[in-house]
């Protein structure tokens, strides 16, 4: 259902579903992973049914997220190719942070920051998946030196990824009218004009 027939479709239901699968698995992975990473977060293990269940479930959720992430990458890579204007936008990120993005270069479907985030998250996943498999002692037995490297890579990358997702979620909250794109897939014309003018012009071209 469209709130207003003039609203613009930004995501199909399928795209939103994949994103939610990734997002929910990410939250579960972050909490179960942090529980094993630092005793301060060990209480998170209660949400998963105790320490042993946390240890059992984390890698399984990891596989779910990895698969959903691959689907997202296939669907979204073409919108995230970095162009010159994206680097210009990133060079002037200070203005965005200041809240005055209307003076910045017009942006397509995604701005330079969003595209950069996409690639950084992809790198994180490319580090997290193999290192997670190496850590998975229930099914694998890699040389101990590999496991030690994997532990460092997996935990450090996880922290970087958690920080990136904090920024991602905050940006969505901060820019009002954005979250609805993940609920029901549409945004207002005014929103599109202000934040993604090039995209607005593309989708409203008669």
């Amino acid at each position: 259902m469209r709130r207003d027939p003039r609203d613009l479709v930004r995501y199909t239901a399928g795209q939103r579903a994949v994103h939610w699968i990734v997002g929910i698995s990410f939250i579960l992975l972050g909490m179960s992973g942090l529980a094993l990473f630092h005793p301060a977060f060990y209480p998170f293990s209660l949400l998963f049914g105790g320490g042993a269940w946390t240890r059992i479930l984390h890698p399984i959720i990891g596989v779910v997220m990895a698969l959903a992430f691959v689907v997202m990458v296939i669907r979204f890579t073409r919108y995230n190719l970095m162009r010159r204007v994206d680097w210009q936008w990133i060079g002037r990120i200070g203005e965005m942070v200041n809240g005055s993005d209307e003076t910045m270069p017009a942006q397509g479907k995604y701005n330079g920051g969003q595209k950069l985030l996409f690639w950084l998250l992809l790198i994180c996943m490319l580090l997290l998946i193999p290192s997670g498999v190496v850590l998975w002692r229930a099914y694998f037995d890699f040389p101990v030196e590999w496991v030690r490297w994997a532990a460092v890579v997996h935990s450090a990358t996880a922290v970087v990824m958690i920080c990136l997702i904090f920024v991602h979620v905050y940006a969505a909250i901060w820019v009002t009218g954005t979250i609805r794109a993940m609920w029901y897939g549409t945004v207002t014309r005014a929103w599109a004009k202000q934040h993604h003018r090039t995209w607005y012009e593309e989708v409203t071209k008669p």
Binding site: P39, V97, N98, R137, V147, I162, V167, T176, K193
Partner: protein, 297 residues
């Protein structure tokens, strides 16, 4: 408090102090490799005392059986045929098992509170009821000792018979050794005893004989008298064991650094919102859009 001999001095995944007022004796087990005849009485005694029934394996043409430590084999006689000098064959037999490090890598790596403890007498013990089965202890151990059980997904290793020691008995292996190659007592006393053994061996031509009590892990509560202490590799022992720097990083600096970074990003977002307010669509664009709408209508 529980038995004084089981006072806990260090506990896995615990950041506050553990009870530490009472001072107990540091114990140690000394394994004199020059006196060992490889009879495996200790290996049997360990299984018997601890009620461990291993699977019956295969003969691989030598005496070492089973091939490796496992969840039901907490101590294993390892047999090495080596030539420390050319044309001088020696049959070295080492009783392998947990070294009970003063600075245990297993405990440092363990994420489950209380699953690994070090008693104030120096024994490092696994409490399987708290074990979550992640295997991080294996990653942390410099001696490749803990083993995850396929049966219950818990980690197991030598307990130094903490249950026997708690009530004033020597470990089962010590009790059973027919040649007196394994002795047990206060750590100082064991070091003194080792010194007499080393002096004796040196007199008999093993000029490099010595005690294996590696300082890199703070010393151990299982020590060896080696005929060739300059070359512990001959016995399958690491030369200068320490907790791997990777494990130190993972379980050391990484933890506070990670928390600080995540907290900083979270707080920065909050303060950004509080100082800048939401990034809403500007009045002009809203008007412009409304205007277009009216035009089209």
């Amino acid at each position: 408090m529980a038995l004084q001999s089981l006072d806990i001095q260090a506990r896995s995944a615990t950041t506050t102090a553990v009870p530490g007022v009472r001072e107990t004796l540091d114990v140690a087990k000394l394994i004199d490799i020059s006196k060992c005849i490889g009879c495996k009485a200790c290996q049997v005694a360990c299984m018997q005392w601890n009620d461990l029934q291993g699977e019956i394996g295969h003969n691989h043409g030598d005496y070492q059986n089973p091939r490796d430590l496992n969840d039901t084999t907490w101590t294993l006689m390892r047999f090495y045929e080596v030539e420390p000098e050319p044309d001088r064959l020696e049959w070295l037999i080492r009783k392998d098992g947990c070294m009970h490090c003063a600075d245990p890598g297993c405990l440092a790596a363990c994420p489950a509170p209380g699953a690994i403890v070090r008693y104030s007498n120096g024994i490092v013990d696994f409490h399987q009821e708290h074990c979550i089965g992640c295997g991080y202890c294996i990653t942390g151990c410099p001696f490749d000792i803990p083993r995850l059980s396929k049966k219950d997904e818990k980690a197991y290793k030598c307990t130094l018979c903490s249950d026997r020691v708690a009530v004033g008995l020597a470990p089962a292996c010590v009790k059973t050794c027919p040649t007196g190659a394994i002795t047990f007592g206060g750590k100082d006393e064991m070091i003194r005893h080792a010194e007499t053994r080393v002096a004796d061996l040196r007199e008999r031509g093993f000029v490099k004989a010595g005690l294996y009590d590696p300082p890199g892990v703070g010393g151990t509560h299982v020590m060896y008298v080696l005929q060739h202490a300059d070359r512990p590799e001959l016995y399958g022992l690491p030369k200068d064991p320490t907790i791997s720097p990777l494990v130190e990083l993972w379980k050391g600096a990484a933890k506070p650094l990670a928390i600080a970074t995540m907290a900083l990003v979270g707080l920065a977002s909050l303060f950004h919102y509080v100082t800048k307010g939401p990034n809403a669509v500007s009045r002009e664009i809203e008007k412009e859009t409304e205007h277009e709408e009216e035009e089209q209508a």
